[in-house]
Each structure stands twice: as structure tokens, then as C-alpha cells.
Amino acid sequence: MLIAQIVFIALLVIAITLFSRQVRKIRRNILLGRDEQISGNRWKRWKNVLLLAFGQKKMFRNWIPAILHLFVYLGFIIINLEILEIILDGILGTHRLFLPYIKPVYPAFISAFEVLAVLVILACSIFLIRRNILHVRRFENPEMTCWPRRDANNILIFEIILMLLFLTMNASDQALQMKHYGHYYPTGSFLITHPIAQHLQQISPGLLVGLERGSWWLHIAGVLFFLNYLPYSKHFHILLAFPNTYYASLEPKSQMPLMADIVPEVRSMMGLEADDSQSAPASPPVHFGARDVFDLSWRHLLAAYSCTECGRCTAACPANQTGKKLSPRKIMMDTRDRLEEIGRNIDMHGSFVDDGKSLLNYISEEELRACTTCQACVEECPVSISPLAIILELRRYLVMEASSTPQEWNAMFTSIENNGAPWTFPPDERGQWASRLA
């Protein structure tokens, strides 16, 4: 027993250490972004967390996947209670620790978990079919090949395996109970696995114990592995969805953030006195807009790690729908990929060593230019990500610093500056429509 406990504790410690190391790295990467103060109503922010992250509100814009996702989500949250027992059992060398304390309701609890486990298996199987056989359009974009596709499938298959192990464990446990074998005390029957247990009785007790222990160990080892897989996967969203919805912008979606850094300069250019409310920034921006992830706000970088690659944004994007290269999901994936690349660079050299690249090596001008700023991506994102916010920052860099502007836009700028209108009409003709009124 003791050896098993030691092995278990060692496994647990290793898994948690590795996980927290990875989480610290991600935190460090996110904080590479520009500092940005969060203002506004705390209560509204918590409401967003409750509605969007806990409540899955946005998911229900799309009923079928929402219900399936709800099964997986509830399964995940609730089965954690079961995992608590497993972990304590593992540490203390006990078996079904909670049983004596909550004996009358124990079978009801476990039965509920089992039902959830079946629903999770069902949902994940349907998700697998949707992704791989039905080829739902939003999972077919060019950015969804290779790793993103495999990642999604990995997780789904993994969840199914974990749930099957959980059910096998319970079934063999009950079969052993029926045989009054060893310390397998009667728990009362579990809804899903009881009938299976009856069939398993023909198997010899030794084999059953092997099955029970085997699935117990594989289940918990699987869970710990899963924990460590998360930070490398889009499935990290199950954690980051919470902070991300908290920190998401509360402004109207159409409101573009002010570049406060340049206000004093513009004011003085226009011969206006300095405005006390906007004192000069302590440190001027390194770039106008964003050239690389360092120039984005930490909020955008948090969002990049929170993206679930669900593609709801891309499916709603008018540019994407009409065959342009732009895919808002890809904007988020590229931001994350670039950030990870920088993270690895820092890991290797101690601090960032210029690699001659930027976020613009990942996201092309053609993509950036195609955005109509229609905010459909922002509206759709179930975890309150704004790909548009990143697009705008990159556009700012292209126009204000890289001077890479389509000729037509340059003409438009000139016209606004000279005529006060994006078209070359003289300002004194502005009221002419009115004088021509009957």
C-alpha cells in the first residue's frame, strides 16, 4: 500500500510542478504585452464572468454545439468532485474515502457522475463526427490543419478514454462488491455501471482487481497528463475563459480605443494648449500601433491564450465569407504562435534576442486590409475575444509607422486633411444640398 501511496504522491507532485511551471511561463508571456489599466465597473465584469464563462451564454447562439458543449463542461466541473476523492484515496491509501460519511447519497452522487460521463462520451463522439466526417465549414479553414486539428481531436479522444476508464473502474468495483471481495465494501448500485458489473462477475476476482486498479491508475494518471497537456493546447481556455471575460472591454464594440500617447502631440500640432487631463505619457510608445506582440496590450495576449479556435468569429466574418484571406480566428492563433515563439526565445537566451521577425510575419497586410471593422467577430466570440482590437493595432502600425498604405487610402487621408471630407469636394459645397431644397 505504502509504495502505491509514494508513487501516487510523486506522480501528483511532478504533475503539479510541471503544470505550474508552464502556467508561470504563460503568465510571463502575457505580461510581455503593454501595460494597460483596467477601468470600469467591477460588478459588470463579474456579471460577464458569470454569464459568459460560467453561464455559457454566448454559446447558445448556436444550440446544438451549445448543448453538447454544456455536457462536456458540466462533466468537467462536476467530475472534479470525484477526482477529489480519487486524489485523497491515492494519498491516504484509502478506498472510496467519502463513502462512510455520505453513505445514503453516495450511490446517487456517483450515478449522477456516471450519467454525465455517458453524456460526455456522447457529446465528444458527436464533436468528433462533426469535425472529421461532417466537415462543419468553420473547422475547415486553412488555419485548421496540422496541429490545431490534431489538438482538437486529441482532446476529444482523451476525454472519451478518461470517461470510459471511470466507468470501467466503477463497474469492476461493483462486480467485486457483489463477490464480497477484500475491501470492496458495498456502495449501493450505480445507475450506469451496475448492469455491466453483473456481467463482469464471471471474471475471476484477481482479474477484476487488476481491471479496477488498472483503470483507477490510468484514470488519474490520464487526468494529470491532461492537466499538463492543457497549457500546450487551445484547451487552456477552460481556465482562461474566466479571467478573459473579466478583463474584456466593456465599451461599445464599435468604439475604438484612443491612443492617449499622441494626444499632446496632436494638440500642440494644432496649436491647442495642453489639456491637463491628458498629461504627457511617462514613456512614449515604442511603436505607433502594434508591430509585434510586445506592442499589444496584455489583455490582447491573454485573449490569444484564451481562444478556443472554435471559429465562430471566422464563420461570421463578411470578409472570410466572401473568400478573402482574413480569418479573425487566425489572427488570434497567429498572435499566440508568435508569443509562444518569443517565449521559447526567452527560455533559450534568458531574455528576448531579436529574431528579425514580428507579428507581421504571421499576419499579412492583405488579411489586415480586408477587415470592415464590422464587429461580427467580437459579437460571436463565446469568451469575449476581440480579434478586431488586434487588427486595428496592426493597421495603426502599418499606416502610421511603416507607411504602408494603399494608394487609395492615402488619397482619402489627404482629402480629409485638405477638404475635411474623404472625397475631394471643397468644404464650401457642404451645405449645397440644403440650399437646393425646394
Binding site: 496632436v266 502610421m400 474623404p422 444640398w433 431644397l437
Partner: protein, 266 residues
Amino acid sequence: MQIPTVAELYAKGEKPELLYWVGCAASFDQRAQRTARALATIFTRAGIRFAILAQEESCTGDPARRAGNEFLFQMMALKNIQTLNQYGIQTIVTSCPHCFNTLKNEYPALGGQYEVWHHTQYLYRLVREGRISLKPATAEALQSVTYHDSCYLGRGNGIYDAPRDILQALQMKIVEMAHHRSRGMCCGAGGAQMWKEEEKGQTRVNIARTQEALATGSRTIAAACPFCNTMLYDGLKHAGKEEEVQVKDIAELVAEHLASDPTVGG
């Protein structure tokens, strides 16, 4: 009907009850000018003391900002705020959702605080309060209409109902497109796209959107944005349907249905 400018009123020591912020499109574009004229007619009929800035109005800076030119945006914003504040303007109605968004949401950060209405909101208020009365339904009015949500009104500012309420007040039957309200599809003009060619793709956004509108079978496509209006009209031309189907601003539809003897004002 003579529309005063704010400067003219100012010279007389007066201030308008309402500034009509016309915007570049309705000032210069011939189709959008129809919206401006319709609004002027309605305001006059409702007895509202309104004025325009005429040559003192400048682009709000919206296209510059969306394209990425924050410098130019701030210049335009500061200039316009100066003008507006100098005349002590408090209430603004605008017929362009882009102007609406900039004036309402983006100018406050630069010192411009106003009460800003989009004309669909304001017109619906006039209808509700009985300040304009509408003609009884005509055969034309009873025809179905489809309403195209402008991104900057709908998703941007949550204005989905006012334009539809007006159409309902006109006793028109609304047939929704496949994408509407918060799922509405862009006309393709936003984000400064109006001023450049679209990126390479299978089709153009406005053509795709017009197809959706045509699929409703409506003879009228109602819009509430001069850019949507242009884009959808171009889409109709592309589909060769500009004779059968018309695109109209909500304001135009209201102006066409004003009762000839107004109950209030005049």
C-alpha cells in the same frame, strides 16, 4: 424651406434645439443627399428648430481611424469638438452610423460630450410622441420590406429596434434576411473599405449581402446608413435588379409617408 446654419443663428444670438450632423456622404453623395433632404423635411414638419454646420462641419475622422491613421482622426476630432463646443452644441442628430459612433462614443475621450441620436432613434421618438403623423397605409406601404442592419448601429450600439419600429409604424411588413440583428452582415463599406478596392476573394461583400436581401423577395430594402445604401444599390445594379427593387433610407420612407396636414408644428 431654408435651413439655417449654426453660425447664422449664433450671429443672431440664437442656438438651435438640435444640430443635424449631416456627414460627408449625405453632404456630397447624390443618393445620400436624399436622406438629408428627407430629414430636413421631417424636422421642419415637426417644428423642430434645427441647424446644420455647413462648411464648418468636417469629416469626423471615422475612416481615418479605422484605416489606422489615429493622428488624422485626432486632428479631425479636436477640430470638430472645438467647433461644436464653441457654439455650445448639446444635442446632435446624425444620419450616418459612423458619425454617430464617433460623436457619441469616441469624442468624449477628447473632450466632446454631446447627446447624440441616430436619425432612426430620433424619428421613432417623433412618431411615438405624435410629433409627426403618418399617412394611412398605401398599397405600396403594405408591401414587404427588408431591413439591413448597419454594423455601427446594430452591433456597435445596440440599435436594432428603432428602425424596425418605424417600418412597423409605416405598416410595412418586415421580412428578415438570413443574417439580421446582431448577426447582420456588413455591407462591405465599413473600416474605410469604402475608399479602396476590396481584397481578392470569391465575391464582394456587398454582392453577397444584396443576394441575401433579394432572397427575401422584398421590393424595398430599407437602410439606415448612407454607405450601406450605396453598397446595396451597387449590389442591385450588379444583379440587374435596380429597376425592380429599391434601396431607401428609413428617413426617406418616413418623409414619403408624412401626412399632408400635420397635427403638430408645420
